[in-house]
Amino acid sequence: MDGEDDFELGGRRYRSRLIVGTGKYADFAETRRAIDASGAEIVTVAVRRVNVTDPGRENLLDHVPPEIFTILPNTAGCYTAEEAIRTARLAREAGVGNLVKIEVIGDEKTLFPDVPATIEASRVLVKEGFLVLPYVTDDPVACRRLEDVGCAAVMPLAAPIGSGLGIRNPYNLKIIIEQSRVPVIVDAGVGCASDAARALELGCDAVLMNTAIAGARDPILMAEAMRLGVEAGRRSFLAGRIPRKLHASASSPIEGMLD
């Protein structure tokens, strides 16, 4: 399937349909090994204050160079549209391109997004030339509004961030996939490789995850499992599954049975 099934995002083509985060790893070396094992070409990063009392320390981008990877800065931790817009502008000024993952949190405990604020931040940033990828609930109407304001993709959650609960509402995702003219990327909630496969089997264009890999007992092995899960799910989707039937349908012929 080389080259014939690329994932297109913001005018660029990618071989991998897995986007990975860079948080929660033991160190930058492990982060890079996990990314390499995952095969991801797009990686998310957060924007934070430099530690001014010890600023000379190693930098994430030394290990995950923007010359090799597409850097997708996020607005994680923002609770208002204004904070998210400010963070996105800072990220762009730091010089890794126009992509931004908009995340406006509406609730501290569930980390569910504040949808009206997400739409507002996205609307402003699209006008400023950003390629906006919004983290959003698995709500078809919210996803449509985000597409209407010009988002480059929609990123519905499968389950709460970091929960590992897998795809809680495959039917909503199906509706979102059916209606969307932009890529649908499942963002958050994946726990294991079969969850990732399921997302792609449903017809999602890509899946974004962090904790499921970084929090696994063996992150590098899980990164590889996720790569295979995503590839298997995509092929399964393209191949077209058989319809579900209540009763059996024998695989072996009846003819030629012994008397």
Binding site: Y25, A46, V50, G56, P73, L90, V96, I161
Partner: protein, 66 residues
Amino acid sequence: MEIRLNGETRAVEDGLSVADLVASLGLGGRRVAVELNREILAREDYPATRLSAGDVVEVVQFVGGG
């Protein structure tokens, strides 16, 4: 003079440029972004921008995240 740098009070020499501040932090040439009194400062303006007492400066970079 004193400025506020990333939420902390910091003594710096009078009229220090933003470029020199960034360099003094070991971040010259790094992918960082600077806000001066809530306004984002373009990289090309770092050398000509001189800090004043009481300025509020934020210097951010990329860290691990999801």
